[in-house]
Protein backbone atom coordinates (compact mmCIF):
# COMPACT_ATOMS: atom_id res chain seq x y z
CA UNK A 1 0.00 0.00 0.00
CA UNK A 2 1.06 3.58 -0.54
CA UNK A 3 -0.38 6.29 1.66
CA UNK A 4 -0.47 7.68 5.19
CA UNK A 5 0.10 5.25 8.03
CA UNK A 6 -0.03 7.48 11.08
CA UNK A 7 -3.63 7.94 12.27
CA UNK A 8 -3.18 9.87 15.52
CA UNK A 9 -2.99 13.51 16.49
CA UNK A 10 0.37 14.40 17.93
CA UNK A 11 1.18 17.49 20.02
CA UNK A 12 2.89 20.43 18.33
CA UNK A 13 6.43 19.45 17.39
CA UNK A 14 9.55 21.41 18.30
CA UNK A 15 12.61 21.57 16.06
CA UNK A 16 15.51 19.99 17.98
CA UNK A 17 19.24 20.24 17.26
CA UNK A 18 20.64 17.19 15.44
CA UNK A 19 23.79 15.65 16.96
CA UNK A 20 26.73 14.64 14.78
CA UNK A 21 29.26 11.79 15.00
CA UNK A 22 31.42 11.19 17.00
CA UNK A 23 28.80 11.92 19.69
CA UNK A 24 28.59 8.76 21.86
CA UNK A 25 24.77 8.84 21.87
CA UNK A 26 24.94 7.70 18.22
CA UNK A 27 27.05 4.66 19.15
CA UNK A 28 24.89 3.53 22.07
CA UNK A 29 22.03 1.07 21.46
CA UNK A 30 18.68 2.68 22.27
CA UNK A 31 16.10 1.20 24.67
CA UNK A 32 12.45 0.24 24.15
CA UNK A 33 9.91 2.76 25.42
CA UNK A 34 6.17 2.85 26.20
CA UNK A 35 4.41 4.28 23.13
CA UNK A 36 1.56 5.58 25.36
CA UNK A 37 3.92 7.73 27.43
CA UNK A 38 3.15 11.41 26.67
CA UNK A 39 6.85 12.18 26.39
CA UNK A 40 7.08 9.58 23.60
CA UNK A 41 4.24 11.31 21.72
CA UNK A 42 6.04 14.64 22.20
CA UNK A 43 9.33 13.22 20.88
CA UNK A 44 7.46 11.69 17.91
CA UNK A 45 6.12 15.17 17.05
CA UNK A 46 9.57 16.71 17.59
CA UNK A 47 11.23 14.16 15.26
CA UNK A 48 8.72 14.87 12.50
CA UNK A 49 9.07 18.65 12.99
CA UNK A 50 12.87 18.47 12.95
CA UNK A 51 12.89 16.22 9.90
CA UNK A 52 10.48 18.52 8.06
CA UNK A 53 12.75 21.56 8.32
CA UNK A 54 15.96 19.63 7.44
CA UNK A 55 16.67 19.69 3.69
CA UNK A 56 16.93 16.22 2.16
CA UNK A 57 16.15 14.46 5.44
CA UNK A 58 13.82 11.49 4.97
CA UNK A 59 14.20 9.90 8.40
CA UNK A 60 15.38 10.76 11.88
CA UNK A 61 16.15 8.46 14.79
CA UNK A 62 15.62 9.52 18.40
CA UNK A 63 19.33 9.30 19.23
CA UNK A 64 20.06 11.75 16.41
CA UNK A 65 18.40 14.37 18.59
CA UNK A 66 20.22 13.01 21.65
CA UNK A 67 17.50 10.74 23.08
CA UNK A 68 18.35 7.02 23.44
CA UNK A 69 14.84 5.69 22.79
CA UNK A 70 13.91 3.09 20.17
CA UNK A 71 11.82 5.24 17.85
CA UNK A 72 12.28 7.11 14.60
CA UNK A 73 10.39 9.22 12.11
CA UNK A 74 10.25 8.56 8.37
CA UNK A 75 8.87 10.45 5.40
CA UNK A 76 10.15 9.53 1.95
CA UNK A 77 6.96 10.63 0.16
CA UNK A 78 8.68 13.54 -1.64
CA UNK A 79 11.85 11.64 -2.57
CA UNK A 80 12.32 10.76 -6.25
CA UNK A 81 13.83 7.35 -5.43
CA UNK A 82 10.80 6.28 -3.38
CA UNK A 83 8.42 3.73 -4.88
CA UNK A 84 6.05 2.53 -2.17
CA UNK A 85 5.72 5.00 0.71
CA UNK A 86 3.51 5.49 3.74
CA UNK A 87 3.63 9.27 4.25
CA UNK A 88 5.09 10.77 7.41
CA UNK A 89 5.07 8.45 10.43
CA UNK A 90 6.84 7.40 13.59
CA UNK A 91 7.54 3.83 14.68
CA UNK A 92 8.21 2.98 18.31
CA UNK A 93 10.18 -0.18 19.28
CA UNK A 94 10.48 -1.27 15.62
CA UNK A 95 11.66 -4.71 14.50
CA UNK A 96 12.49 -6.17 11.10
CA UNK A 97 10.13 -9.00 10.23
CA UNK A 98 11.31 -9.81 6.70
CA UNK A 99 14.15 -8.51 4.52
CA UNK A 100 15.22 -9.65 1.08
CA UNK A 101 16.70 -8.64 -2.28
CA UNK A 102 19.81 -6.72 -1.29
CA UNK A 103 20.98 -3.89 -3.52
CA UNK A 104 23.76 -1.38 -3.18
CA UNK A 105 22.82 2.32 -2.94
CA UNK A 106 24.27 5.66 -1.86
CA UNK A 107 23.34 7.00 1.59
CA UNK A 108 23.97 10.12 3.57
CA UNK A 109 23.11 11.05 7.13
CA UNK A 110 22.33 14.29 8.99
CA UNK A 111 24.66 13.05 11.75
CA UNK A 112 27.53 12.38 9.30
CA UNK A 113 27.25 15.56 7.24
CA UNK A 114 30.61 15.32 5.46
CA UNK A 115 30.35 11.86 3.85
CA UNK A 116 28.12 9.66 1.80
CA UNK A 117 28.67 5.94 1.27
CA UNK A 118 27.53 2.90 -0.68
CA UNK A 119 25.62 0.42 1.46
CA UNK A 120 23.90 -2.82 0.58
CA UNK A 121 20.34 -2.97 1.92
CA UNK A 122 17.28 -5.14 1.43
CA UNK A 123 14.88 -3.66 -1.14
CA UNK A 124 11.91 -5.70 0.10
CA UNK A 125 11.21 -5.16 3.77
CA UNK A 126 8.55 -5.72 6.40
CA UNK A 127 8.98 -3.80 9.66
CA UNK A 128 6.75 -4.05 12.69
CA UNK A 129 6.48 -1.20 15.22
CA UNK A 130 4.10 0.56 17.56
CA UNK A 131 2.17 3.73 16.94
CA UNK A 132 2.83 6.59 19.37
CA UNK A 133 -0.13 7.49 21.60
CA UNK A 134 -2.26 4.37 20.87
CA UNK A 135 0.41 1.66 21.07
CA UNK A 136 -1.34 0.01 18.11
CA UNK A 137 0.85 -2.33 16.07
CA UNK A 138 1.82 -0.93 12.67
CA UNK A 139 3.18 -3.14 9.93
CA UNK A 140 5.10 -1.43 7.14
CA UNK A 141 5.62 -3.58 4.05
CA UNK A 142 7.67 -1.58 1.62
CA UNK A 143 10.43 -1.51 -0.97
CA UNK A 144 13.09 0.61 -2.66
CA UNK A 145 14.00 3.87 -0.93
CA UNK A 146 11.57 3.60 1.99
CA UNK A 147 13.05 0.16 2.77
CA UNK A 148 16.57 1.64 2.69
CA UNK A 149 15.50 4.51 4.93
CA UNK A 150 13.89 2.17 7.50
CA UNK A 151 17.03 0.01 7.69
CA UNK A 152 19.21 3.11 8.08
CA UNK A 153 17.04 4.30 10.99
CA UNK A 154 16.90 0.83 12.56
CA UNK A 155 20.71 0.81 12.48
CA UNK A 156 20.75 4.13 14.37
CA UNK A 157 18.66 2.52 17.12
CA UNK A 158 21.27 -0.27 17.34
CA UNK A 159 24.05 2.32 17.71
CA UNK A 160 25.28 1.85 14.13
CA UNK A 161 25.94 4.39 11.38
CA UNK A 162 25.98 3.73 7.64
CA UNK A 163 29.77 4.00 7.98
CA UNK A 164 29.66 0.63 9.79
CA UNK A 165 28.17 -0.99 6.69
CA UNK A 166 29.97 0.66 3.76
CA UNK A 167 30.78 -1.72 0.93
CA UNK A 168 34.54 -1.09 0.74
CA UNK A 169 37.50 1.20 1.37
CA UNK A 170 36.53 3.22 -1.70
CA UNK A 171 32.79 3.28 -1.00
CA UNK A 172 32.99 6.50 1.07
CA UNK A 173 32.66 9.86 -0.65
CA UNK A 174 33.25 13.37 0.63
CA UNK A 175 30.31 15.70 0.71
CA UNK A 176 30.88 19.42 1.15
CA UNK A 177 27.37 20.45 2.14
CA UNK A 178 24.15 18.72 3.04
CA UNK A 179 22.34 19.25 -0.23
CA UNK A 180 18.62 19.13 -0.68
CA UNK A 181 17.67 15.97 -2.53
CA UNK A 182 21.34 15.01 -2.72
CA UNK A 183 22.44 11.48 -3.49
CA UNK A 184 20.25 9.28 -1.40
CA UNK A 185 20.01 11.58 1.61
CA UNK A 186 18.63 9.35 4.31
CA UNK A 187 18.72 10.69 7.80
Amino acid sequence: MTGPLLAVDLPAGRVLPVVAAPDPVLSTPCVDVDPRDPSVAQLAADLLATQRVSPGCVGLAANQVGVGWRMFSVDVSAHPKARTHHGAYVLVNPQVQEASRNERGREGCMSVPDFTGDVKRATRLVVRGLEPVTGRELIVATDAFEARCLQHELDHLSGLLFLDRVAGAHAIYPRQTYQEGGPGSVG
Partner: protein, 170 residues
Protein backbone atom coordinates in the same frame (compact mmCIF):
# COMPACT_ATOMS: atom_id res chain seq x y z
CA UNK B 1 61.99 -7.11 -17.30
CA UNK B 2 61.98 -4.82 -14.26
CA UNK B 3 59.15 -2.44 -13.73
CA UNK B 4 59.31 1.08 -12.39
CA UNK B 5 57.48 2.45 -9.37
CA UNK B 6 56.68 6.10 -10.07
CA UNK B 7 55.37 8.39 -7.35
CA UNK B 8 54.29 11.96 -8.02
CA UNK B 9 53.07 14.26 -5.27
CA UNK B 10 52.28 17.92 -5.01
CA UNK B 11 49.78 20.76 -4.84
CA UNK B 12 46.68 19.73 -6.76
CA UNK B 13 45.88 21.52 -10.02
CA UNK B 14 44.29 20.57 -13.34
CA UNK B 15 46.52 18.68 -15.79
CA UNK B 16 48.81 16.66 -13.50
CA UNK B 17 47.70 13.24 -14.74
CA UNK B 18 47.75 14.32 -18.38
CA UNK B 19 51.28 15.69 -18.06
CA UNK B 20 52.72 12.70 -16.18
CA UNK B 21 51.09 10.00 -18.28
CA UNK B 22 51.87 11.96 -21.46
CA UNK B 23 55.57 11.96 -20.60
CA UNK B 24 55.43 8.23 -19.78
CA UNK B 25 53.61 7.44 -23.02
CA UNK B 26 56.27 9.42 -24.90
CA UNK B 27 58.85 6.99 -23.50
CA UNK B 28 56.78 3.99 -24.58
CA UNK B 29 55.80 3.18 -21.00
CA UNK B 30 52.72 1.16 -20.17
CA UNK B 31 50.72 1.83 -16.98
CA UNK B 32 50.43 -1.61 -15.39
CA UNK B 33 48.61 -0.34 -12.32
CA UNK B 34 47.93 2.94 -10.60
CA UNK B 35 46.34 4.75 -7.71
CA UNK B 36 45.73 8.48 -8.02
CA UNK B 37 43.88 10.57 -5.52
CA UNK B 38 43.77 13.86 -3.69
CA UNK B 39 45.06 13.87 -0.12
CA UNK B 40 44.29 17.07 1.80
CA UNK B 41 44.87 19.23 -1.28
CA UNK B 42 47.97 17.32 -2.41
CA UNK B 43 47.57 15.20 -5.50
CA UNK B 44 49.26 11.81 -5.07
CA UNK B 45 49.98 9.32 -7.86
CA UNK B 46 51.54 5.90 -7.46
CA UNK B 47 52.13 4.07 -10.72
CA UNK B 48 53.65 0.78 -11.79
CA UNK B 49 55.08 1.31 -15.26
CA UNK B 50 56.63 -1.17 -17.71
CA UNK B 51 58.69 -0.68 -20.85
CA UNK B 52 59.62 2.95 -20.38
CA UNK B 53 63.41 2.75 -19.95
CA UNK B 54 65.55 3.14 -16.86
CA UNK B 55 64.52 4.90 -13.68
CA UNK B 56 66.97 7.74 -14.39
CA UNK B 57 65.60 8.26 -17.91
CA UNK B 58 62.02 8.38 -16.67
CA UNK B 59 62.83 10.74 -13.83
CA UNK B 60 64.64 13.05 -16.29
CA UNK B 61 61.61 13.05 -18.59
CA UNK B 62 59.10 13.68 -15.80
CA UNK B 63 60.94 16.51 -14.04
CA UNK B 64 60.33 19.12 -16.80
CA UNK B 65 56.78 17.82 -17.41
CA UNK B 66 55.71 18.55 -13.82
CA UNK B 67 58.40 20.87 -12.40
CA UNK B 68 56.18 21.88 -9.46
CA UNK B 69 55.75 18.32 -8.14
CA UNK B 70 57.87 15.80 -6.23
CA UNK B 71 58.75 12.92 -8.55
CA UNK B 72 60.45 9.69 -7.57
CA UNK B 73 61.16 6.69 -9.83
CA UNK B 74 62.57 3.37 -8.62
CA UNK B 75 63.07 -0.03 -10.22
CA UNK B 76 60.95 -2.76 -8.66
CA UNK B 77 60.85 -6.47 -9.44
CA UNK B 78 57.83 -7.72 -11.36
CA UNK B 79 55.22 -9.14 -9.04
CA UNK B 80 52.45 -11.53 -10.05
CA UNK B 81 48.91 -11.05 -8.81
CA UNK B 82 49.08 -12.00 -5.13
CA UNK B 83 47.08 -15.05 -4.16
CA UNK B 84 44.39 -14.47 -1.57
CA UNK B 85 45.57 -15.82 1.76
CA UNK B 86 42.10 -16.09 3.21
CA UNK B 87 38.64 -14.57 3.30
CA UNK B 88 37.96 -10.88 2.65
CA UNK B 89 36.65 -8.79 5.54
CA UNK B 90 35.80 -5.14 5.98
CA UNK B 91 36.60 -3.17 9.10
CA UNK B 92 35.15 0.28 9.83
CA UNK B 93 36.52 2.38 12.68
CA UNK B 94 35.12 5.82 13.46
CA UNK B 95 35.26 8.25 16.33
CA UNK B 96 36.91 11.37 17.66
CA UNK B 97 40.24 12.02 15.98
CA UNK B 98 43.42 11.27 17.95
CA UNK B 99 46.91 10.04 17.07
CA UNK B 100 47.51 6.29 16.90
CA UNK B 101 44.16 4.93 15.69
CA UNK B 102 45.49 3.39 12.47
CA UNK B 103 48.58 1.90 14.10
CA UNK B 104 46.66 0.39 17.01
CA UNK B 105 43.98 -1.14 14.80
CA UNK B 106 46.30 -2.47 12.09
CA UNK B 107 48.57 -3.99 14.78
CA UNK B 108 45.63 -6.06 16.01
CA UNK B 109 44.96 -7.19 12.42
CA UNK B 110 48.64 -8.00 11.81
CA UNK B 111 48.85 -10.05 15.02
CA UNK B 112 45.93 -12.13 13.70
CA UNK B 113 47.76 -12.76 10.41
CA UNK B 114 45.46 -10.36 8.55
CA UNK B 115 46.74 -8.89 5.30
CA UNK B 116 45.45 -5.38 4.54
CA UNK B 117 44.67 -5.07 0.82
CA UNK B 118 43.19 -1.56 0.86
CA UNK B 119 42.73 1.15 3.44
CA UNK B 120 41.15 4.60 3.41
CA UNK B 121 41.17 7.23 6.13
CA UNK B 122 39.11 10.39 6.20
CA UNK B 123 38.92 13.28 8.61
CA UNK B 124 36.05 15.76 8.72
CA UNK B 125 35.70 18.06 11.68
CA UNK B 126 36.26 15.89 14.77
CA UNK B 127 35.19 12.69 13.01
CA UNK B 128 37.96 10.32 12.01
CA UNK B 129 37.00 7.44 9.74
CA UNK B 130 39.03 4.37 8.80
CA UNK B 131 37.82 1.68 6.39
CA UNK B 132 40.06 -1.36 5.95
CA UNK B 133 39.79 -4.23 3.50
CA UNK B 134 41.65 -7.15 5.04
CA UNK B 135 42.14 -10.82 4.21
CA UNK B 136 41.98 -13.04 7.24
CA UNK B 137 43.63 -16.47 7.12
CA UNK B 138 41.42 -19.54 7.49
CA UNK B 139 43.12 -20.18 10.84
CA UNK B 140 41.92 -16.81 12.22
CA UNK B 141 39.41 -16.96 15.07
CA UNK B 142 37.20 -14.12 13.80
CA UNK B 143 35.15 -13.93 16.99
CA UNK B 144 38.27 -13.54 19.12
CA UNK B 145 39.64 -10.94 16.68
CA UNK B 146 36.35 -9.02 16.87
CA UNK B 147 36.71 -8.99 20.65
CA UNK B 148 40.31 -7.73 20.48
CA UNK B 149 39.29 -5.00 18.02
CA UNK B 150 36.43 -3.96 20.30
CA UNK B 151 38.80 -3.74 23.27
CA UNK B 152 41.32 -1.70 21.27
CA UNK B 153 38.52 0.57 20.03
CA UNK B 154 37.30 1.05 23.60
CA UNK B 155 40.80 2.08 24.69
CA UNK B 156 40.90 4.62 21.85
CA UNK B 157 37.36 5.85 22.48
CA UNK B 158 36.23 4.89 18.96
CA UNK B 159 33.81 2.38 17.38
CA UNK B 160 34.94 -0.66 15.36
CA UNK B 161 32.87 -3.06 13.27
CA UNK B 162 34.32 -6.09 11.46
CA UNK B 163 32.20 -7.94 8.90
CA UNK B 164 32.70 -10.31 5.96
CA UNK B 165 33.10 -8.47 2.66
CA UNK B 166 30.50 -9.56 0.17
CA UNK B 167 32.11 -10.87 -2.98
CA UNK B 168 29.29 -11.44 -5.42
CA UNK B 169 30.45 -13.20 -8.55
CA UNK B 170 27.98 -12.82 -11.39
Amino acid sequence: MPQLAVTVLGHDRPGIIAAVTGALAGLGGNLEDSSMTRLRGHFAMTLIVAGSGTAAEVEAALAPAVPDLLVSVREVPEEGEPEAVGSPYLLTVHGADRPGIVSAVTSVLADAGGNVTDLTTRLAGRLYLLVVEVELPASCDVEALTGRLAATARDLGVEASLRPAEADVL
